[in-house]
């Protein structure tokens, strides 16, 4: 149902196609933009165009990249023997904030989802296998989400990679720091017990 004249309705329709933006929000954002200063709206439009022109997928790890390779693949100081597998580029950002990891990444661009019918073929798994044989990888760290899809993906990759004689590890599950133990669910608390470690005091 088109309530507005051509260009306004087009704008609302386009905004409404963005993830997490419903028809009401699309309408609100559209009217915000119409009221905004022309240079503000142009800057937004230009930054979308620039990003689409200049940014694409790293041809090695499928992170976002300006040019052929992403910043991590270009950086010679990163340890090429450690490869951390994530679902999306934004997971790299979260891991980088910890400053704990000095290896390289591989972005699957999704996760196995049996209920959506998304299998390993729709992920960057073939490309991962190519990298392992060619780049001297010694350890694979599975850092997919700790939900059903992420765990299915981690289990699938573990089964696939173990026979290749590479060390395959999974990031730990446990209690969120700063929370109370009594609120933890059974799966999380169970894993926290299994993953306990000696205290150096």
């Amino acid at each position: 149902m088109a309530l507005y004249e051509g260009p306004v309705q087009n704008l609302i329709d386009e905004l409404g196609r963005l993830p997490g933006v419903g028809p009401k929000s699309a309408q609100r954002i559209a009217f915000y933009l119409l009221k905004a200063a022309p240079e503000d709206a142009k800057r937004l439009a230009q930054s979308i165009v620039d990003a689409k022109d200049r940014v694409s997928w790293c041809r090695r790890c499928f992170n976002i990249a300006e040019g052929e390779l992403c910043a991590f693949c270009k950086d010679e100081r990163r340890d090429a023997t450690l490869l951390c597998i994530v679902e999306e580029p934004r997971d790299i950002v979260a891991i980088e904030r910890t400053a704990e990891f000095r290896g390289r990444y591989h972005v699957l661009q999704g996760a196995i989802s049996p209920i959506e019918g998304v299998g390993p073929d729709q992920l960057r798994v073939k490309e991962l296998l190519h990298r392992i044989s060619g780049e001297g990888v010694e350890e694979i760290i599975l850092a997919t989400n700790p939900n059903i899809e992420g765990e299915a993906t981690a289990m699938y990759l573990a089964r696939l990679l173990k026979p290749a004689g590479i060390r395959v590890t999974r990031i730990a599950s446990g209690l969120p720091v700063g929370g109370d133990l009594e609120y933890a669910d059974e799966v999380t608390l169970g894993r926290a017990f299994e993953g306990r470690r000696e205290v150096d005091a």
Binding site: P114, I115, I148, Y183, D185, E186
Partner: protein
């Protein structure tokens, strides 16, 4: 009807909503299929944690909404943790959830189906048997009113000849001459598994060593179920 209610149920599926929420589909004991928003569940500090993930059997408190309910509390009844820690178990558990999602009606209790699903998930988690999922599908079909004919040809009623194929339209097994006009071939070993599975010998099948016959019965069950619900079971592609 509005206000708070309590119920127990199995989480069938989840979809992301907004920044940190999910809509969960739960098959409950007292309210049938229910869709509810779990607010903040994707944050690592969520009080729900893993309790609202598919395969989990939970006790819920929800606030009834017009279209979607809102989960206010969740406690685990059975975590069925083994199911999410083995790839083969998870790929066998999810198709059962998808089938129930297809068959169950919103806000219509179905106590028999509820008992079947909670029982099947528990049995799969403890026995790890590949027989559980096909047995569940055949029981589900029978609950839906489809009882396959296995003791005589479903097309010509011949009951002396060996039965060698299955046809969902005819409603059962076919003899060799009838099978020439269509039907899906069934090996003698798979037919034996099918007969025991549906004839009250499920425990004997559970004790069988794993073999190709169970896989054949599973694929047949998926085909017949898809025929019955007139939809594809998407998750069955990973079986």
């Amino acid at each position: 009807m509005s206000g708070l209610y309590r119920d127990s149920g199995v989480v069938l599926r989840t979809i992301k909503l907004g920044e940190a929420d999910r809509i969960i589909t739960v098959f409950t004991q007292g309210n049938g299929k229910v869709r509810a928003v779990a607010k903040g569940v994707r944050k690592t500090t969520s009080k729900f944690g893993a309790r609202l993930e598919p395969t989990t059997h939970v006790a819920l408190q929800c606030y009834r909404g017009r279209e979607l309910d809102v989960v206010t509390q969740a406690e685990t009844i059975e975590a069925n943790r083994a199911l999410r820690e083995g790839y083969g178990l998870l790929t066998h558990a999810i198709p059962m959830l998808e089938a129930v999602d297809q068959v169950a009606q919103e806000r219509e209790p179905n106590p028999a189906l509820y008992r079947m699903l909670t029982g099947a998930l528990r049995t799969l988690a403890t026995t790890r048997s590949p027989v559980v999922t096909p047995a569940f599908f055949w029981k589900l079909l029978s609950l839906e009113g489809f009882h396959p004919l296995l003791d005589a040809c479903a097309r010509c009623s011949e009951n002396d000849a060996p039965l060698v194929a299955f046809d969902a339209d005819d409603g059962g097994m076919l003899c060799a001459p009838c099978a020439r006009g269509g039907g899906r071939p069934v090996s003698p070993a798979a037919f034996d598994v099918l007969q025991r599975m549906l004839g009250g010998g499920l425990n004997s099948v559970l004790a069988d060593p794993a073999g190709p016959a169970v896989g054949e019965v599973e694929r047949l069950a998926v085909t017949v179920l898809e025929h019955h619900i007139e939809r594809r079971l998407r998750s069955a592609t990973l079986l």
